[in-house]
Symmetry: C2
Subunit: 404 residues, 2 copies
């Protein structure tokens, strides 16, 4: 019996459903492992020793590559002094100054542990500053896993979402109508870096929509909140809406900020500084020094490498290769999203049956893709790794072609 | 200029109020440092190199002592393989089995990063299972730092707390009255391990109150939720209410679970397993393997040492010494709380003016105490360290005596 199977059986007895949340392999095509033994660069090994070229990067956190030597050396050096203390280590100041210097809208920052901590703090700070309640949220957008924003409604009360007003991403008219509904009670507008709802094609932000969101927030004196948890530091070091020329008042970061070390951040404009002082936001591990040292190393290395440009180039190479191979197999595909966070879907594939067959076959050939969720590239993905992954993709397309 | 002063000045420009949350040194007596350079066992050093015997243990996480070799070796060994992967490492199963074997009420567990994640998940799971809304919460109790439970109301809407009903800790009649108010809509009762409201004497749970809470939950078919975030694994490895013979349905853990590595856990009874499957609770770092390896090592070491007994004994030695010294200085004090999580207050000391003078003088003499919040002992505190801290306390009492 594979070790993965044995571990799943044991896990199912002591963890509800075998695993909580987004890393539950039950949501993946057949053959995907649940448990992993190790990782290095853009490669990872499951508990049974199978090796994969990784296109999920731990669903975003790994931006430089697994076990990156510069980041891990910074983490080790800080750990040798101390991590969880009665207050922060000096590296907090270094990191906070680096974030403020790197992100144009940021005059200050708060740190936390989860992306959900950061999005929740943004909403709370927006309400505290404006002394209003309504928050505009795009239909289907993911902003975290607590009652106000969870994709599940189990255990959620009506009041948890009482002051949310929906709009459609990239639809300026619907956003303006939602702002009209909120009227004088509009506290904030929260937007994802791009539209990345599960299972549908990704959409980059329309610059006109982004400007409309900025204008609606300005007209009402409300906060424009950028949820950059998933895309932050992968598309643009200054924030993912720098590409469309729109700056938020508050932004939420996590995932890639420390190359896999647990950290999140809120950055904010001057106007919201006092409110951020009044909101009580804290956690037992929010001042730990090791993830901060890892974040300084990660952001410095991303700047040195021009990480976003490198990931974009490798994402474009992957995308071009997928297009070429699909055409060769006579298959119609659709690539969407930013090249560094791509999604590939088959045409006429409701339920992603073809996507699942593609992924399952590519996995057997050594590439870990995802059929429904945007994937992630890292700076450890070079031309050789992309080309090796394309060989695995070729096996995936062949499997789909055989399905007829 | 002290380095701490320079760091605070820089921090105040890029972090609202200089620091978020409970580790902000502005809430501490004069002379307390904000920034720390390193730590080892029960000693820590501030950014200016001053050495202290530590009685806050990072406000709870450090239970074996800073940089504990067994824990750090387990963390290093896991980090050398991988930490943040596309799923958990096998150590997840080991930890989940260990938690279920250690905590009598637990049939399953979920992991997370913050104590607030764990308390929020408990409340959501209780609502999902019962399909009801009301949660009973003790007045003044701290259960986390998000809108439903934050001690600040900045940015909080009325709806965030719509279904909370207050009662008084250790007052069975008030709890039963609150349950009566909830009626058929009672989803859960959340209780701290002991009463540890900031600034007032600590109160151990009255066994009759604990039994009344269990009975009220049972009578309504609601969940009894133990918030063991602060006290868990320090008072009793099986859960802090084992001492009063009452078992919860759901419990929240964090702080001490991995000796300073970021981790939290929910443990639950069988009845709540299905609801825990339906609630979507997740985070980017909730499957990271290093904190899990640290937790296995921490819990194993705590069991091997009988950590709770050891911390209790050293806490009793500290308390007896404080009583003896206070009497010698002609000062009236009141010790409260579990010996491993003690609070010492002066009689007739509104605003803790005497407590602050005591702490400031003891700090100068090398002991890091707290005047208002419960303190924490660790397994690294031995007789020599307690006795050295009592010498510092003697200087603190002398300073208070001089105030007349």
């Amino acid at each position: 019996m594979p070790l993965d199977t044995a571990l799943r059986a044991r896990a199912s007895r002591v963890i509800p459903g075998g695993l909580w949340g987004h890393l539950n392999a039950a949501r993946l095509p057949e053959g995907y492992p649940q448990f992993f033994a190790r990782a290095e660069g853009c490669r990872l090994w499951d508990a049974d020793g199978r090796e994969f070229i990784d296109f999920m990067c731990s669903w975003g956190p790994i931006v430089l590559g697994h076990r990156h030597p510069v980041v891990e050396e910074a983490a080790r050096a800080q750990a040798a002094r101390g991590d969880c203390l009665n207050g922060p280590a000096p590296v907090l100041v270094e990191l906070a100054e680096l974030l403020v210097a790197t992100i144009p809208h940021a005059e200050w920052c708060l740190l936390a542990k989860n992306g959900t901590d950061a999005t929740t703090s943004c909403v709370t700070v927006a309400r505290a500053e404006t002394r209003r309640r309504k928050i505009l949220v795009a239909r289907g957008a993911y902003h975290g896993a607590v009652p106000w924003c969870s994709p599940s409604i189990a255990g959620v009360t009506e009041e948890d979402r009482a002051h949310l007003i929906p709009f459609d991403y990239n639809d300026a008219a619907s956003l303006e109508a939602a702002a009209g509904c909120a009227g004088a009670d509009l506290a904030g507008i929260i937007v994802s870096a791009f539209r990345h709802d599960m299972g549908v094609a990704l959409e980059l932000p329309d610059p006109a929509f982004a400007r409309a969101a900025r204008a609606a927030a300005d007209a009402a004196g409300a906060a424009l909140i950028l949820d950059d948890v998933r895309a932050g530091f992968r598309l643009d070091l200054g924030g993912s809406w720098e590409t469309v020329g729109v700056r938020p008042d508050l932004a939420a970061y996590s995932k890639a900020i420390a190359n896999g070390h647990a950290l999140a951040a809120v950055t904010g404009a001057e106007r919201f500084r006092d409110a951020a002082t009044r909101v009580f936001t804290t956690g037992s591990f929010w001042c730990t020094a090791v993830p901060m040292a890892a974040a300084v190393a990660t952001l410095t290395e991303l700047r040195r490498l021009d990480g976003p440009a490198r990931m974009r180039a490798m994402g474009e190479r992957l995308r071009a290769g997928l297009d070429r191979l699909a055409a060769r197999h006579g298959l119609a595909i659709r690539n969407s999203g930013p090249p560094a966070m791509p999604l590939m879907q088959f045409a006429d594939d409701p339920g992603a049956r073809l996507g699942e067959a593609f992924c399952a076959a590519a996995l057997r050939a050594g590439a870990y893709f995802h059929p429904r969720h945007n994937m992630f590239l890292s700076c450890a993905h070079g031309e050789a790794e992309i080309d090796a992954a394309l060989e695995a993709a070729d096996a995936g397309f062949a499997a789909v072609a055989r399905l007829g």
